[in-house]
Assembly symmetry: C2
Homo-oligomer: 374 residues x 2
Amino acid sequence: MKRYLMTPGPTPVPEDIALLMAKPIIHHRTDEFKKVFDETKQLIKRLFKTENEIVMFASSGTGSMEAAVSNVLNEGEKAISINAGKFGERWSKLIKAFGGVNLELTYEYGDYAKAEDIKALIDKNPDVKAVYIQASETSTGTFHPIDEIGLMLKEKYPEIIFVVDGITAYGAIDVETDKWNIDIGITGSQKALMLPPGLSILSVSEKAIKKIEKSTNRFYYFDILGELKARWGNYTPAVSLVFGLNAAVKKILDEGLENVFKRHRLLAEATREAVKSLGLRLLSKRPADSLTAVYSPDGIDSSEIIKLMKSYGVEISNGQGHLKGKIFRIAHLGYFDKPDMLLAISVLEIALKKLNVNANFGEGIKKAMEILSE
Amino acid sequence: MKRYLMTPGPTPVPEDIALLMAKPIIHHRTDEFKKVFDETKQLIKRLFKTENEIVMFASSGTGSMEAAVSNVLNEGEKAISINAGKFGERWSKLIKAFGGVNLELTYEYGDYAKAEDIKALIDKNPDVKAVYIQASETSTGTFHPIDEIGLMLKEKYPEIIFVVDGITAYGAIDVETDKWNIDIGITGSQKALMLPPGLSILSVSEKAIKKIEKSTNRFYYFDILGELKARWGNYTPAVSLVFGLNAAVKKILDEGLENVFKRHRLLAEATREAVKSLGLRLLSKRPADSLTAVYSPDGIDSSEIIKLMKSYGVEISNGQGHLKGKIFRIAHLGYFDKPDMLLAISVLEIALKKLNVNANFGEGIKKAMEILSE
């Protein structure tokens, strides 16, 4: 059966990039590889909208998250983590795992962080050293107001290190790393960058580097300064993924960054408006353009919808944690275009109909067609 | 120009496996992926000759080395590291990085570890908790007597955890994980397993698990027990590499493990005897069958030989550290067969001739042909 992967990572890999990565492997200590590695870092800077240094690890995105904690936060130092979903929870776990004092700011799943809450917490804890947040919380499809938070931190607490997990944001949603005061921005290969998993990327500011230089923690593989010093990878880089990344970022820049963001916005809007027209509710109060989380209709386990859609080859995701069975998530980040959303909404309608859900059948796809034909 | 990659990792990827990894990506939380993941671990057990548990990390091989230190050795605990080359040195760095007390047993580059030296050091330090070694030291092409060391430890010090970096051994040279008492055996994707870099693999014994359960260290991403518990990857696994690994190990087992080892032995013997027939000297006192390290002729910088061979498309490696310029290394692990070694030796002879080296020209390739036609 033909398959249509619409999960929020891994996402589909463009055919030309998949084949490019199938090219014969080359050695990583060659001028040829070093040139590609350097160029790729420059391309990433454009994608991240940053002048900061770029580091890549052969790891899942969690590897860069770990580096942003273990390298930055010393034992006993306070950090604020925003927990509004499963990936926010990961910040908490990491901070605790490395001996930091975790000030957790919790929000309902679907809600978003408020700059004033963070400000209030810092005012009570003026010795906070870092703030950890997601740009897009993948478990709920929520985009936190990174711009407001970043600018508030810049203005009021310029010493605090601002760390943003942009794993389902960079390359899909405009994240202005430098303008928004992001000291460490993070992404992974398998999301908007349209690659297989196995490569994580981070940008690191001068301010963060100065903090890392004073680190008293133990780390080895995820060593940000070590990677900066080694320049082309302290250990064997994921050679084929680096080649893929080079091609993928070029593809994004060729389309034009703003066009890519606009495309994601349009696909997201079509998805959101379509499900609302069907009578369904969105989970998120501040939806991200990278994926859409939707409440399952009353009395229907979302697993049923997902299973039926899969019988047509369309693979979407369930909720995570306590939202399992309660929501479904349709991704539209990376290698997606208008027709993909049309098929997703149509198949969703078919699934709902088969489940005898009370919905405005026909209205979802009609709305999607309307928006996507604009 | 057609290229012939003969460096000790990354090594060439078989064309069918490269294309298999270019297949559309699937989600990692699917039954389909879990089945492949489980099966792959079973295949690895056969390759490793072990009944122990298998863990895979999305990382370079160093990631598994780190896990074998950070998870196993607590602060202030003593460990012996065998340093007979650049990768042995990495054990020292890791032990120190994680607060262990590093008892370094140093050998000249090219020399190999002796079981009696390790025994003597343990007798002086009965509180040693672990021994860290390479099977094949890639920087010198030396195979340490892992069998003797492992059996000595088993007999005399059954409590000590024996950790073997088999990154350029597993799948090329017979390493009997269980019979040789290896508690943690490690490899990476980009060596004998014929895959791109980005996946590291380890086997872990019950005894090692019991030690890890008492760990007081800080780690998160490289969490052996966490991976065992999660079973299919705590974080996003390197999906395409896992599919590649499945196919690669099947390819190895289809050829027959013993046949694969025999092939590597033959290619290694042909290379060694050929360079000796040319009048060159081997670096290693106990050469590994995965790569051959050769002294450059007197007065000749090995970089010159490497550059000339590269002008024919044949890429071999230089020495590392103080051996740079002094030796060259020809790899023959993974996707290599007899004709590859014939071309390598022929091109080596051409390079030496162009450098006006005093060598027994014609004798190298003659010897290689003789051995490889047996």
